[in-house]
């Protein structure tokens, strides 16, 4: 029985680690940069495909490719914000109007990125095997690659949190999140910081995608399901709260795992039931302010 419980809990954490990571990126983009990035999943897909490419063509270890993949996706995100969203922000009469128009722009972005990916890679599923062997853990078995994925997701998450909490730039980001106008008056280059946030959000998505590609098969239209999961997680954790997203991700993973153990047919139902209950009981999320 102990083994069963351990089994279910760890399986939940393994899934939760990935959920947490992709949600942190979206949380940053929406919480600070005020862009509800519906195309978030497409950046995950890009990260996954770049990793797959590097692994199958050049033979680069998927974990090493994190350092290649991250900067590429970050740059795409950063440039997108500087060109597209900065302009939208300047032309929007209010922040509410900007949220609306930027979300619509993201819808467009979703279709563009997805279709370009289909043109480049085709609609098929792709995949590779890496660290595909079992590890025994107190009598329960887990895939080595998922454990490594969880480890990396935790490390990346903690580093990211420390950066936001301690580094000067991180403080500028938090200032921009709390009071953009005041932060601007205090000498924070607000456009630069917001673009940085969007870029960092894309970076987290890209890294998440890299890690995902190790244990899941990938395809150009895979993004949306992860976007939806990330949305549930950031609402669960509290909009704009990085630790909240992290906790939310793990909770979602755990709930999914426990329900799958009892009745797999209800796993996805459980996600949405939890989402609805939370909106009714605590609409600002677990760590929302």
């Amino acid at each position: 029985m102990i083994v069963r419980i351990l089994d279910v809990v760890i399986a939940g954490l393994l899934l939760g680690g990935i959920y947490a990571m992709i949600a942190v990126g979206l949380s940053l983009q929406y919480g600070v940069a005020r862009v509800l990035n519906i195309a978030h999943g497409e950046f995950i897909m890009l990260g996954a495909f770049i990793t797959w490419w590097l692994y199958t063509i050049v033979g680069i270890n998927p974990l090493v490719s994190l350092v290649i993949c991250g900067p590429i996706v970050f740059t795409i995100g950063f440039i997108l914000y500087r060109t597209l969203f900065t302009r939208l922000r300047a032309s929007s009469p209010s922040s509410a109007a900007f949220e609306g128009s930027s979300m619509l722009a993201c819808f467009g972005l979703l279709f563009i990125i997805q279709n370009v990916a289909i043109l480049i890679w085709g609609a098929d599923m792709k995949g590779y095997s890496y660290l595909a062997f079992p590890v025994n853990f107190g009598g329960a078995k887990f895939a080595a690659n998922r454990l490594v994925t969880l480890g990396f997701a935790m490390v990346i998450g903690v580093v990211f949190y420390l950066f936001l909490a301690r580094a000067r730039l991180g403080k500028a980001i938090r200032a921009a999140a709390q009071a953009p106008a005041t932060a601007g008056l205090m000498g924070v280059n607000i456009n630069q910081v917001l673009a940085l946030c969007f870029g960092l959000g894309a970076l987290m998505a890209g890294l998440g995608g890299s890690l995902l590609s190790i244990s899941y098969k990938i395809y150009p239209t895979m993004g949306l399901e992860y976007t939806i999961i990330a949305l549930i997680v950031i609402v669960l954790g509290g909009l704009g709260s990085i630790p909240g997203s992290f906790i939310g991700g793990f909770i979602l993973g755990l709930v999914g795992s426990i329900v799958t153990y009892i009745e797999p047919g209800l796993a996805l139902v459980a996600y949405y039931v939890m989402f609805m209950l939370l909106l009714l009981v605590r609409p600002k999320g677990i760590l929302g302010k």
Binding site: F133, P134, S257
Partner: protein, 407 residues
Amino acid sequence: MKNRGVLHLFVFGVLMVFLVGVCATHSLAKDKIRIGQAISLSGPNAIGVSISGGRIYVMWVEEINKNGGIYVKEYGKKLPVELIRYDDKTDIGTMTKLLEKLILEDKVDFVFPPWATAWLYAAAPIANKYKYILIGGPGGALKLKELSLPYFFQVLNFSETQAPALTGIFKEVGVKSAAVIYRGDLHGVEYGEAMVPYFEKKGIEVKMKKSYPPGIKDLSPLLKEAESLDVDAFCAASYPDGGMLLTGQSLELGINFNAFFITVTPFSPNLYRDTFGTNTVEGVMGGGAWNAKSSPGAKAFVDKFVARFGMEPDYWGGLYYWSSLQHFQQAIEKAGTLDQKKIRDIMATEKFETALGPFWYDKNRYFVNHPGEIGQWQKGVFEVIDPGEKRTAPPLYPKPAWPKPKK
């Protein structure tokens, strides 16, 4: 000013005559056969379309046109074929709207089927309503048979013939117990429901039966449960997402069964065999089945497909669809017209020679001369292992354990 008005009137008149003339000639002279298809070119089902079925319609159209077209006596000439495709984005509602648009607005001559069982189930009554022939492609369900639609022709085999064949194989090799898991949609539920009674009737104990939702991200609890129940055979009715996940996870966790069967996915040499490797998939069973040894036409079809796309076709439906189109072409030629009713009547009664051999439909308009039901990967070939004369190799049992990966 006055002259200008006259000029305008003149130009307008000339244009009108020209336009009307063009329209008139357009409707009189038939210069091509237009076939419409609403199919998933994006979304989760696009994966299935690209590994199974999708390319075969394209290749058939190309081959027809290379030969100048289909000879239709009514027009006294060969008519080339144009394929008009719309993307249903893996949405059944979108597919039904696009199918109606193809029939009502685009006024295509014929329609081709969408991809997946549930989609086919939604499309068949629509085509039938407008008296359009619908030759079923990828997909099949007992529930469709219950509808008994005169314009619908079922091509692919499904649970009705595959479940008994699988049971026969299990009996032959000595499987004593099984775990059955299935995707919670029309495909999964039908196969899941079909396998269990056949197994039980033949004395194979079903120790576990569970469904899972499409889009699930972790199937390891199901694999671990089946392992703890110590079953001989693990059977899954899944689509490519689940099929790949199941195989990947049982490989990663080192969970082995004496027989490992997945309905949809193993039949794909590109997605399945080549992603995991020929050695790894050795002994995996899947729905199907045929291979280049099934008939001389099958060999020719594989060669043609490889030459065109640089990869092998899928070993479940590939030959079925290709042959059904060859049957369709001969029915049009025999009818000598593009009239749906006349072609339908010929299709329903006539037998034509095709790549898989003689092709005909039974009285329910179901294709019955299947080249095989269940396949198994053996040294890179998807062998037909059904009991009976279609078998190309005896079943390999127990399935070799997953190879030890390089650490």
